[in-house]
Structure formats: structure tokens, C-alpha cells
Symmetry: C2
Subunit: 333 residues, 2 copies
């Protein structure tokens, strides 16, 4: 039986899919679906390739009620910048939830992952940030540093921003870009402690393996979203922070216990009697997140296959005729 598979490339996706509140709503639905308990989401397939300084993750999730589900392939090859190539890359495959047939291949080079990751940050801001944010701060100077601030601005239109990075030139460049993108002044700061002290909303976006934010930096009314850790060795937030705050939320408790900030806190014995809330439970109103303006809250984001399925279905539904259709038979067998 002949049928078509839709092929869409990164330039085409960049024209039609953007980081906006519609996308935040889409990714928010992935969180609420996860918390409803009917999502099938196997552990991430992770292949570490130290001999080529690379890694590949494959994520997927089946969400009842969604017409399709994504298989998302994310390679990270960290020698690439020396070759003039980006470290991150990959694609998404969308399969029919009814027949398993491949419906679309999004040759996005990681663009959709960047967007859904930023949108997840916006969901965290929507449900956990103080109702008013004067100053937002970002730790890190890469693509996600920029996107996370743009995402937060959709939910909490702050008045100024701060950037910290190990490389001050990169921090200055990031601050300049964000000033231009958002129309509010961003400046680079010389320490994480200074950034946290001056901000009510902080996002950490680094691949750090040593904590950058420590418990002594916390202050009333602070929200932190930590989205850098997505592997067992990474750690941006000191374990004692998780024990000291009023509410710890995460995208997936099982995944964060293996790959997120929660993993380091558990390993350090700092977790014991504490309880994790999944962000989706807050979205659904099943659990409280921030209860008081002065609460200190943290959201640990490792990135879920449910988010990939949500954005892939969004691409499919919003633009059914975009891209190139490749005619394909379903086989002679």
C-alpha cells in the first residue's frame, strides 16, 4: 500500500515552529499527561562513546490520546566544534500511535529539542516562579542560556537580566544577545553568588560536574530551574540545596534520580526524608509547588521523551502539508 512519509528539514522547521506560549502549552500537556500516570516512557537509551568524545541518547514516550509518538535521537560529539560543526545534532521520527508506521522524519539537527527544552523551562517558570520577577539570571552562555531566558520572559516579563559564565567574553556576548532579543538590559556578572543574590529567578544551563549553586546562596522568594544535568556525572546544584528548599519539583522523578540533580543529592545522603513533586502534578493541581511568596523552590529538568512526543505531534498537527513527501510502499511482505 503506497503512502507518504513527510520529511522536514531544520530550515523549514525554523520558519514554522518558534518558542512561544502555544508551544509552552503543548509541552505543558506533556507534563500533565506524565502526571496522569498513563504515559509509557521507557528509560533513555544512552550510548557513551568516550573514544570519540561522543554520546547518543534516544528518548521516546507514548502518550494516550496523542495521534503519534516520537523517537528522538540526540547525538552529542564534543570534538565537532574543532571541525566547525555543532556538538549537538539529531532528528525526530514520528510514528503513528495506532499503526506504528513512520509518518514523518524531522531532520531538525536538535532544533526541536532545543525548543521543547526551553518550553519546559517556561512551564517551570509558569508554575513555580514568584508571581513577579524583577531580575532573572542565567548560569551558562550557550544556546539554552539564551532560550531559557526567552522562555522565562514569556511567563514572567522581568525588568533586567544577569548572565554568568566561566568565559567572560562569552557571558558578555550572551548578555548582549539577550538584551537585543528581549528589549530589557542584560549584563554579565563575575560570580554565581552575585547572580543568585540579585535574582528572584535563576536557570542553570551548564554541563558542570561540580555544584555551582550552594545552599548559602539561597534567599527567600528564589526559584531555580536546573536544566543542565542530563547524565549521571553532571551536577549543578549542591546536594544541601535540595534539602534546604521548600519545594523540589522535577520533570520525572525516576529520570532525575538517575540523571538529574536529585541523583547527586541521593548519592550525598542529603535526600532521606524529602519528597519530590513532579511538575505535572503541579500543572494538574494535584500538588502544591510554591505556596508562599517567600518559598524557595527548585525545578530539576532532565528532558523527557514525553516532551519530544508533544512537540513532534505539534509539528505534525500544525503543518500537515509542510516539507517534502517521500512516497514509500509499506512493503511487499
Amino acid at each position: 500500500m503506497p503512502r507518504d512519509i513527510q520529511i522536514i528539514t531544520e530550515p523549514q522547521l525554523r520558519k514554522i515552529i518558534a518558542l512561544d506560549r502555544v508551544l509552552v502549552d503543548v509541552v505543558e500537556r506533556a507534563f500533565s499527561a506524565l502526571a496522569e500516570g498513563h504515559v509509557v516512557m521507557p528509560p533513555v537509551l544512552s550510548m557513551d562513546l568516550p573514544m570519540v568524545h561522543g554520546e547518543v541518547d534516544v528518548k521516546t514516550a507514548y502518550i494516550p490520546g496523542f495521534d503519534g509518538f516520537a523517537i528522538k535521537v540526540s547525538p552529542g560529539f564534543f570534538n565537532n566544534p574543532k571541525l566547525g560543526l555543532p556538538s549537538l545534532n539529531g532528528l525526530m521520527v514520528l510514528l503513528s500511535a495506532k499503526t506504528g508506521l513512520v509518518e514523518a522524519v524531522y531532520l531538525d539537527n536538535g532544533y526541536l529539542t532545543e525548543l521543547r527544552t526551553a518550553a519546559a523551562g517556561a512551564v517551570a517558570a509558569r508554575h513555580l516562579a514568584p508571581s513577579t520577577v524583577d531580575t532573572a539570571g542565567v548560569v551558562g552562555t550557550g544556546i539554552q542560556a539564551r532560550l531559557q531566558m526567552q522562555a522565562a520572559f514569556l511567563e514572567r516579563p522581568f525588568r533586567r537580566g544577569l548572565v554568568w559564565g566561566r568565559d567572560t567574553d562569552k557571558a558578555d556576548a550572551c548578555a548582549k544577545d539577550l538584551t537585543a532579543a528581549l528589549g530589557v538590559p542584560f549584563s554579565a556578572t563575575t560570580s554565581v553568588a552575585d547572580l543568585v543574590a540579585r535574582a528572584q529567578f535563576v536557570v542553570t544551563t551548564t554541563p558542570s560536574r561540580e555544584p555551582l549553586i550552594t545552599a548559602d546562596m539561597l534567599h527567600p522568594g528564589l526559584h531555580i530551574t536546573a536544566m543542565g544535568s542530563d547524565q549521571a556525572g553532571k551536577n549543578e546544584i549542591a546536594p544541601r540545596v535540595l534539602a534546604a528548599i521548600d519545594a523540589y519539583a522535577c520533570d520525572s522523578q525516576s529520570q532525575c534520580a538517575a540523571l538529574g540533580e536529585l541523583r547527586a543529592a541521593i548519592d550525598a545522603g542529603a535526600w532521606a526524608d524529602h519528597k519530590a513533586i513532579e511538575l505535572g502534578e503541579i500543572v494538574l493541581g494535584k500538588k502544591a509547588g510554591r505556596e508562599q511568596p517567600n518559598d524557595v523552590t527548585l525545578c530539576d529538568l532532565t528532558g523527557t521523551g514525553a516532551q519530544d512526543t508533544a512537540i513532534a505531534c505539534h509539528v505534525r498537527m500544525a503543518f500537515p502539508d509542510a516539507g517534502q513527501s517521500i512516497p514509500i510502499s509499506t512493503g511487499t511482505s
Copy 2:
């Protein structure tokens, strides 16, 4: 930096890639690489979707010295035949082993998986079957029943064939097809016991969850390749068979202990002091397989990501300009 991604569809693949001894050599290299111990092959990502009678497996492996590695997506949705669609489907993505960039997408609907699975059967026949096979038998009547007999015939040009299936009409049709394809007479038989008694070489290709071949059926000089089991609940070979034979070989010991015939033998307590040989160790000459003409041998095949990487690289190298090139930028970031 603009670059192209190669897209090849099933009809194009069927024209250029066939089951022949070149392909058997390619897949044999995957076995020897695995046994050399430098392959990185994470556990299969497996998502079971009972609510839609479906499942999805994702396999991958990095083989040192190969230019690329495959990520293979295999959905099986078993209500599809009612809709006039095949149960099995899927695609392979080939990534550069150096940069992780997506180089090709093979929209094969499972065709390459069918071929590499058959070729793995040929590798087992090459190294474990008696040197002369008069009669070959296949248990099952599907695509793999046909392909496994064609694969075995490449290595052991037998004089006649037997087919057994639960549905005698399907067994007759399969025997007729194989007679036409191979030019030697195939006939359907009424019992597995009869088939095994008359054959020196047997392949089991079913999704059975109850053993079809039992220890009382074994006879001197018999080789069995069991390739139907690829999930924890499946079982074609009675546990006592594994304890009774002279050599048990498998594609991957860890994978077969979880998904293959070995799993059932371990669960039944029939394994204890026995030892598994990986087929690649036999290919490399590190371990003996069949030592005497009268030995009874079995090869347990679950299908490895290394086989997927081998066939994907074969497609890439043999036909560098085939298919459709989709121009794609590697991103603005």
C-alpha cells in the same frame, strides 16, 4: 554549513541490497567485532504498548573501525493486518561515527532488518551446521521462514526442505514459494517432531511462547538455529534442550539471557553449569562450535544492534549516491 542527508526508500533498497554471500560476510563482521570486545552496544530500548497491541524496539551499536553507526527503530503493531498493513515496519538512521551527524535515513519498513536477520542465520549455518546438509527444515511460515531457508542454502546447498506451521495452508504456501525460489523440493510436514527427525539443519522462526522443540527430538548431527525469541516472554526451545546439546552458541550472551532461548533455560534452572559461546568467538576461531560431525548444536539469535550497524554501513558504502539527497544546514547555532 550545508550538507546533504541521504534518504533511501524501501523500493530503492530492494533494488540494490539483496540476501547474498556478500551480505553474509558483512553481518559476519558484526559478529566478530562483538567478540573482539570493543563494540559499544547498549541494551535494547523496548517500549511495550499493550493498549494498542504494539511494541517498539530501538537498537544501536558502535563498532570501532566502521565509518558510521545505525539507530534502528522497529515497531511491531499486531492489529495492522486487520487494516491491510504489515505488522512490522520501521527505519534505520545512519550517523557518522566521527561526528554523530545524521548521514542517511533508510525508510526501509523493516526490509534491512529482515535481511540482516536472515544473514545472521547464514553466519550460524556457516559455522555450526554439519558440513553436509541433505534436508533442511523450518518451523514457521512467515517472511523469516522463507528468508532463513534462502540464507542457509547459501552456506549449505541442501537437497530438500521441510516446513511446519500451525496453519497447514500457510505451510503449503511457504513450501511452494521455497521450492520455486531455491529449485529444490520443499514440502509441508504435519509435526515439528517429524520435521526435526528428518532434517540435519532446522531453523525456528515463530513468536511462540511455548517450546516447540523438545529434548526427545534431538538426534546426532543436528543443528538448530532459534531466531524467533526476541522478547522475555517468547520461547521456542525447551530448556532441557540447552542442557542436552554439545554446544550452545548465541549472538549476544547478555541479550539472549534477557530475551532469547537462554532466558527460558535460566528461568527453568536448566542452565547452571553450562557455558554459552558467542557466535563471534567461533567466527574468530577463539572458541570451537561444532567439534564432531555427530555433535548437536544450537544457535540462539535475538538480533543485535551490531548487525544493524553492519548492514547500514554496507548500504552506505555500496551505494554512496543512491536515493534522494535532502540538503540540510547543520544549524545556525
